[in-house]
């Protein structure tokens, strides 16, 4: 019974924890401009993250080593360090976006300027990282994030023309007035939002934090193969809401309030309250994940003690890295740079950095020295290789498309 409960809780956490500020902004923004014509990019990203998160979870369960621990071993100290620098920058950028997201969500709830919420959010994040148990930290944010299911309810209450939505999704094309480069630029942003690298750093390190062994592979797989696709469905509901309410009125998404607007239209104040609770939980949870991931990746490269399963003083440099990254992330938001803009850039640079994370995972998951009999099967390798090609194309095309479309303008 306890085991069933554990698996169920893991799935709920995976659903609620799947969506972060990047998914919120990208799906709403794209839904308002393209309808569901880019739903395929989200679906592709969800399949990709399932595939590689499963591999990284399996590696962590079998070998007890998290993703970045192994990056240096397979790439060597020099290329590993370059990889660390790039991954850390992208994760830090995402961390800033999440902190900005918390502040914007609290502004929506309180009408107090978001900049005043940044120090509060920063302090709350640090206290949770410093004192709260890993499993509590992970599960509470994830379960509260389920409030975002309100987007599904709103979509149903809006009584959309379902056949038209399905039509948009299954015969994708760029709508009139939107060029192909812009279309593919946003496809990459959605793909990057679903596959953000920190998710596998966090997922695999979390497996080590919770002392997974080979018998926990089932739990890991349930989280990934049930929780992530349902989380992806939430992303699609957010996009569909925007497609139904915002697109016909030609409202473009530049603020977090506009992301929640369709819920307010469909369900009124109470619905909006749920949406805002979901925003706070999703961004706070993701801020914890990205902040810890900064510490995980640095500590794992250098071999320092890391993790929340030991006292903070026994993982001193890990805690210091997390603290410094938190100050940098909050400081970035306090420069008054628009958090929504930071989010959009974090998605594009995530897409650029994807191969740095996913290639080593595919290599390690095939290494019998670590994995014994638990190496990748044929299907996982075939899909993994196909996705690696897609990831490479997305990574190479991201910057040129960003320049050509002036970041989707």
């Amino acid at each position: 019974m306890k085991r069933v409960f554990g698996v169920a809780l893991g799935i709920l956490t995976a659903i609620g924890g799947f969506v972060d500020i990047g998914d919120l902004v990208a799906n709403s923004l794209v839904g308002a401009r393209f309808g569901l014509a880019l739903a395929w990019a989200t679906v592709l990203g969800v399949i990709g993250i399932c595939l590689f998160a499963e591999m990284s979870g399996r590696v962590a369960a079998v070998s007890g080593r998290a993703t970045f621990d192994l990056v240096r071993e397979r790439l060597g100290p020099r290329v590993g360090l370059a990889n660390l620098a790039a991954s850390l920058l992208v994760t830090l950028l995402t961390f800033s976006a999440e902190v900005g997201g918390i502040a914007l969500a609290l502004e929506l709830a309180s009408s107090v300027n978001y900049l005043l919420w940044v120090p509060v959010a920063g302090l709350a994040l640090w206290l949770v990282i410093w004192r709260v148990k890993f499993s509590v930290l992970e599960n509470v944010a994830g379960v509260l994030g389920l409030a975002l299911v309100v987007f599904g309810v709103a979509l149903w209450q809006l009584h959309p023309d379902w056949s038209q939505l399905v039509q948009q999704a299954v015969s994708p094309r760029n709508p009139p007035g939107e060029g192909l480069p812009t279309y593919f630029y946003y496809a990459i942003a959605l793909f990057g939002a679903a596959m953000t690298p920190y998710e596998v750093f966090f997922f695999s390190s979390g497996g080590v934090e919770e002392r997974w062994s080979a018998k926990d592979i089932v739990t890991s797989r349930m989280n990934v193969f049930v929780g992530f696709p349902l989380g992806g469905l939430l992303s699609l509901a957010i996009a569909a809401c925007a497609a139904v309410v915002l697109m016909p009125r030609q409202i473009t998404v530049d603020t977090l309030g506009q992301v929640g607007l369709p819920v307010a239209v469909a369900l009124g104040k109470l619905g909006l309250a749920f949406a805002i609770l979901g925003f706070v939980a999703a961004t706070f949870g993701a801020a914890l994940e990205t902040g810890l991931s900064c510490g995980y990746s640095v500590a794992q490269y250098f071999g320092w003690q890391w993790g929340k399963y030991v006292r903070p003083r026994d993982a001193a440099r890990f805690q210091l890295v997390v603290l410094v990254c938190l100050v940098v992330a909050a400081g970035t938001v306090l420069t008054t740079i628009d958090p929504i803009t930071v989010t959009e850039y974090s998605l594009v640079f995530s897409a650029v950095a994807l191969p740095l994370t996913y290639l080593p995972i595919l290599v390690i998951a095939n290494d019998p020295d670590y994995m014994g009999a638990r190496v990748n099967g044929r299907v996982a390798n075939l899909l993994g290789t196909v996705f690696l090609v897609i990831i490479l194309v997305a990574s190479l095309a991201a910057i040129p498309l960003m320049l050509a479309t002036r970041a989707g303008q």
């Binding site: 100290p77 020099r78 590993g80 250098f302 399963y309 006292r311 903070p312 001193a316």
Partner: protein, 126 residues
């Protein structure tokens, strides 16, 4: 007897102390020539003085020079773990001493004493 590929299975691998805590990476290894002329591994070398030269390039040279200068006493050899302490090489390298006994990473201790250890609650696990 099992064979260990030094490049693939030893270098850059995580070192665990006898309580399973993380100690360091195998930043480099020390080899000695046996009486039969065959080299054998005598120690795991730790820290930037060991990893710097393997990093290569300008950054590696700069880091190595800085690490030698900051060493206590200056110019001292990098910290080492004698290979006799190693009990197993699997997805990590196990040694039969505690982190404190090995004392290969003075910077970790410094951060613990002067920064993190001074914050309230640092002695309580989450």
């Amino acid at each position: 007897m099992t064979t260990v590929d030094i490049h693939l299975q030893l270098l850059d691998r995580q070192v665990l102390d006898r309580n399973g805590l993380l100690v360091c990476k195998v930043d480099d290894i020390e080899l000695h020539e046996g009486p039969d002329g065959v080299p054998f591994v005598t120690a795991i070398l730790v820290g930037p003085r060991a990893s710097g030269p393997r990093l290569g390039g300008r950054l590696g040279r700069w880091l190595t020079a800085l690490a030698w200068r900051l060493a206590e006493p200056p110019g001292d050899a990098p910290p080492r773990i004698p290979f006799g302490r190693v009990t197993a090489v699997h997805s990590a390298v196990d040694v039969d001493r505690t982190r404190a006994e090995l004392a290969v990473d003075p910077l970790e201790g410094w951060v613990e004493r002067h920064v993190i250890g001074r914050l309230p609650g640092s002695g309580h696990a989450g």
